[in-house]
Symmetry: C2
Subunit: 246 residues, 2 copies
Amino acid sequence: MLSKAQIKYIRSLTQQKYRKEHNVFIAEGDKIAREWLSGSQRLQYIIGLPDWLEENKALIAGHNEAAVIAAEESELTNISTLQTAHKALLVVEMAEHAVTPYASGWSIALDRIQDPGNMGTIIRIADWFGISQILLSPDCVDVYNPKVVQAAMGGHLRVRFCEVDLYTFVKTTSVPVLAATLSGNSIYDISILEEAVLLIGNESKGLDPVLTELASHKVTIPGKGGAESLNAAVSAGIICSHLMPR
Amino acid sequence: MLSKAQIKYIRSLTQQKYRKEHNVFIAEGDKIAREWLSGSQRLQYIIGLPDWLEENKALIAGHNEAAVIAAEESELTNISTLQTAHKALLVVEMAEHAVTPYASGWSIALDRIQDPGNMGTIIRIADWFGISQILLSPDCVDVYNPKVVQAAMGGHLRVRFCEVDLYTFVKTTSVPVLAATLSGNSIYDISILEEAVLLIGNESKGLDPVLTELASHKVTIPGKGGAESLNAAVSAGIICSHLMPR
């Protein structure tokens, strides 16, 4: 059973300021919880239905640092950040954001991505294609927002985040920089790149024109239909699938 | 100004049963509203801030059938289905779902897609690549759900929907059927197809194994990372970008 203080604490973590203050975030749901239990990141709370805790006791045994709490469905509903509560909820200690970006391989760089679903889906795309670094402009949605964690499906465990001034980074990096735009060269006409930074812009405003100008390649996904643009995460996935080494 | 009865009516349209009863749905936001104003679909209400109505009066003039109502910001917030209200909200008459599917070109067929964001993003993908038909299994999320309309960004105007028994359709169609799965042939090894039906499955359960078996091609997006799968909409976009005629 959860105490009132614990309920209050966990509910406070839907807000970024409390996540920052306590340096923790929430990972919710059977599949995602098991991903984190299998990882080495430190956990603060492991809260689950009694059956779920029993089923996963081997994984839980590896996390002595965490308080394990059996909860009823109504309690999980009470602390859930989702519309329908799941069988388990973890409070996970944040990994520090990296300070210095890698200067090799593939990265995705996000310019003011605001939608938590898009951010999470982009983390999942990076995790799928084996991209281990996401660069964030200072005004992106928090990667530890519960909806981001949900949509990323455990991607946080394998992708590192680095908040950077994108202008300085793009100007100084030795890696090719791809700007996803509506009027660049077709992805069908560009060769696979061994390393690159893929710049993806804000959902409604697109990529900052200054960043687009600084990029070494402007790339476009050709379309024959009536839509004005593609979703930011879908664009990132399509470009990675065409231009990354296979 | 909106009457109490109008507010009640519009708020009721967040629920599918009232949308079905009245055969209308909500399209919200400046950009989306202007898309519908430019189209020929019948509108029931055009509600907007006075400035917005003034700016768009040429487009609005084409819609004699609609009641035009100037509203204050607080009124728009009151009827909005979104977290932040926009400058305009339309009540649009539904187009009938098509009864008979096309049997040529490219289509996307959705098996139990539940997430409104995914559904809307897939409609937007179809609209981008010029796919004019989406086939829906009977238990997909309503394509007129406000979150779907929002994410589709006007795609409803150019994509037609057809609810079908996917099993019968897949068994009898003369067009190649592609099943997006985790263990098929690499999309990098398949030639472009002049026509096809792309089957995309439920977000957590994947595609029904019976449908997968019935498909003529099983296709996979190769990934080198740690993620178990890709988001349904992202998968659809990637497969279209590789296998559709360019």
